[in-house]
Symmetry: C2
Subunit: 471 residues, 2 copies
């Protein structure tokens, strides 16, 4: 399968992504970094719940007779048991391996023959499957998706070669990508206890040991209608959708005993961390820093929205503080950015990064970045910056409405990470209400170097043969 | 209970301990750092196995009519399930809470009334209980220890206050000790996946949630004769001991289904890590570095012994490389040391440390330490250093024979971390056989900065109120 799904650390220059959003990349060219946390007013979203507990969300869009059909499962890599890292993602691959009625590999071919496209993705908190098809093919894709929710057939003949596919995916996306490797090592070091520290795709030594039984147990435990959310965006109404949903998904029995989604929580971080990775392929040194922060699901009221605004002011675009100081004035950085990753069932994170200009060393770059942050913490934000950042975030949310799949994805992410449809709908209003005081408050609270990890990517120079130590 | 058991990071100056041995401190004044990995020829050690699978080891010592009686369980903090960190150690405390026949707190009083003393300790790989008594009281302690192996009674009335005791123990030993805190944060960051990264005593947020049910389940799962080793050192022979062992322990049924001791293994470390902790109580800056290394259980043949010799040459005493360079010549360090922690079921570690002299900064100290290591990697060892290091290690093992409890402990550690009685007995011979080439080979292989974590302990200076960021 060519299913995409994985650590989409597409290179820090192309768009830095926090560790959680970084875990997702969709084939349909959704730029992950711009899928804003939560979203917008948007169209009249309809919701309902089937008798078996499956949640249904409809996002009407009648501009064209097409629909985006998605099924989201409330399970991701952070729900895996020890020594089984990668099983959530591996199962996602295996979901294309057929059922009693659909032969291995046929699923996507059927969608394609019907003029549609399909894919799937896995993150730390969720796993999702989607198809985009003409409206009259909606019953077909619902039938197919419901079928593999409960009738998956796995044989070693299918499972074992797919494991090699995943290992190859890991090699090409992580092992051959210095910034992805740095990100992986940073997260693993940073999270002292929480499973957010592991890579969604899994550790190689553990992927190699995954088998049919592991995948099937995971499937039986987590893939059930009462752990799933059906999201359909497009030329359909809730009234049209519900009979179909009932017919296809309503027939699947609920699973009575779900494991609670309670993960090991982070102990207090007390020491600043630094992770330095050297690789011969690095051209410009890169500096990243990730600070622990709450998420939309775990924050004190108003903090997450203020963190979104904060990140926008600091590093969102060419009018941001970091850009102005490091790229424009000092010319020490070729690119900078700041992101708040707030869509998470457990904690979120706040990140900043800078790519060094030609000849610029990382020490100087870091001093400049720290100076920008220190000035921010001292002086706070101007009314103009605040207004601009809010406008930018809200505009982003408005633009997202132009894309069925982005819109559907925003609801899917929110609903699988502890938020509600209402949270998504009210997000722009809450962003609008963020004050300068609140932005400064969260900045002072969460820009704590002791709750951070600093990652440094450097070019590995040739070294004398005898000095294995200094590498 | 005043049971000692815990992260005995007694302060780095008093004797640096690797992360695993650091987890153990016995009341009977055993200096952990000197309990050498494996040990010596020693007396004629007798071994046998009861029908229920319980291993029996006798270490004869007829100098006085006393015995040290120990029961070791092959379970430690690294065997805990997620979110239950600290349960192995908590259960160790609760083992003093009584049975049907012995009232809460009575166990140690009985030992004491009979002129003996007793204690217990928990590490990442094992949990052990011991009593030192006159020979004629051996049947009594065996009866008591066998009783609590299977008849433990736990009530909330006993369990909940003891949890507060553990939390207080954590506060006094870890939270109030900057070097213990640094050690904890270093290990947590260093181990990307393996449970050796968690503190034996547990994370505070998880200790607070432990309860009677958790403790009892852990007890029922792991405390059984076929997961235990009886070690008796002192004035007794195997012939005398076996009928008693059969009488007291032989009556307890084996537990048929033990969980395998397979922990998540470390993925490849690719990036050098640094952990910086600042605390107002720090007087002299301290620099530590821990490198991933194999253990006696996981090494290629001969590597662990060579790592022991390497650590001795580098940092063992006043004739060592680090001492000579940093303390004597440059006067940049007040103390230095190097340790190999090789007694572990999974990987081991190689550590170096230096305490800065008055006025010496850590950057300079680290450069000097790195220079010593680099010179070592370039030039290797002299015949004289090699000889001296081996003599010192072997002498240590010989001295250990003078102490019943140290000797018993050496066997206990070895047998619960994948080694055999024969391994212990042959250790001095294997150390004797280590060559200069092998020492250089393991040094070059394992002194890899990318497989290391560097910990820095600094004094926290008062800071301006507005600058929350630079701390």
């Amino acid at each position: 399968m060519m299913k995409m799904c994985m650590p989409g650390v597409a290179g820090i220059v192309a768009g830095f992504m926090g560790q959680r959003t970084a875990a997702v990349a969709i084939a349909t060219a959704v730029v992950v970094g711009t899928v804003s946390p939560g979203l917008a007013f948007g169209p009249k979203v309809g919701t309902a719940t089937l008798d078996n507990g499956m949640q249904v969300v409809v996002i009407p869009d009648h501009r064209a007779p097409v629909v985006t059909h998605m099924v989201w499962y409330r399970v991701g890599a952070a729900d895996e048991t020890p020594r089984k890292s990668g099983i959530a993602h591996f199962l996602e691959h295996l979901m294309f391996k057929g059922t009693k009625d659909v032969k291995p590999g046929e699923f996507s071919k059927i969608i394609s023959r019907n003029g549609g496209n399909d894919n799937a993705f896995t993150s730390l908190d969720y796993t999702a499957y989607f198809q985009r098809v003409a409206k009259d093919r909606l019953p077909l894709v619902m039938k197919l998706e419901a079928d593999r929710m409960t009738n998956l057939v796995l044989t070693d003949k299918e499972v074992l070669p797919e494991r090699d596919v995943v290992l190859e995916e890991r090699r090409s996306r992580t092992d051959n990508n210095p910034s992805a490797r740095l990100n992986e090592q940073m997260n693993a070091a940073f999270y002292l206890s929480h499973p957010y520290g592991k890579p969604v795709i899994g550790w190689p030594n553990e992927i190699r040991a995954l088998n049919r039984k592991d995948a099937f147990e995971f499937y039986r435990r987590y893939y059930a209608p009462n752990n799933a959310i059906l999201i359909v965006a497009g030329d359909v109404t809730l009234e049209e959708l519900m009979p179909l949903a009932q017919q296809h998904y309503g027939a699947i029995p609920a699973q009575p005993d779900f494991p609670e989604r309670i993960r090991p929580q982070e102990p207090r971080h007390e020491a600043a961390l630094r992770v330095t990775l050297k690789d011969p392929r690095v051209t410009s040194p890169i500096l990243q820093r990730i600070y622990l922060a709450p998420s939309y699901a775990t924050d004190q009221p108003g903090e997450a929205e203020a963190l979104d605004v904060l990140a926008e002011i600091l590093g969102g675009g060419t009018t941001s503080r970091l850009y102005d100081a490091l790229v424009v004035k000092q010319k020490s950085a070729a690119a900078v950015g700041s992101y708040f990753s707030g869509d998470a069932l457990d904690n979120g994170s706040l990140s900043v990064y800078a790519v060094a200009s030609q000849g610029q060393d990382v020490t100087g770059l870091e001093a400049e970045m720290d100076a920008v942050i220190a000035k921010f913490l001292k002086d706070g934000v101007t009314a103009e910056e605040l207004k601009r950042a809010k406008n930018s975030l809200i505009a982003e949310a408005v633009y997202a409405q132009d894309s069925q799949s982005r819109l559907a994805r925003i609801y899917g992410v929110a609903l699988t990470t502890g938020q509600t449809v209402q949270d998504v709908q009210q997000w722009p209003k809450r962003v609008e209400g963020v004050t300068a005081e609140k932005v400064l408050e969260v900045a002072r609270k969460y820009f704590s170097i002791e709750q951070s990890v600093t990652g440094i990517l450097l070019k590995r120079e040739k070294q004398p043969a005898s000095s294995g130590q200094k590498s």
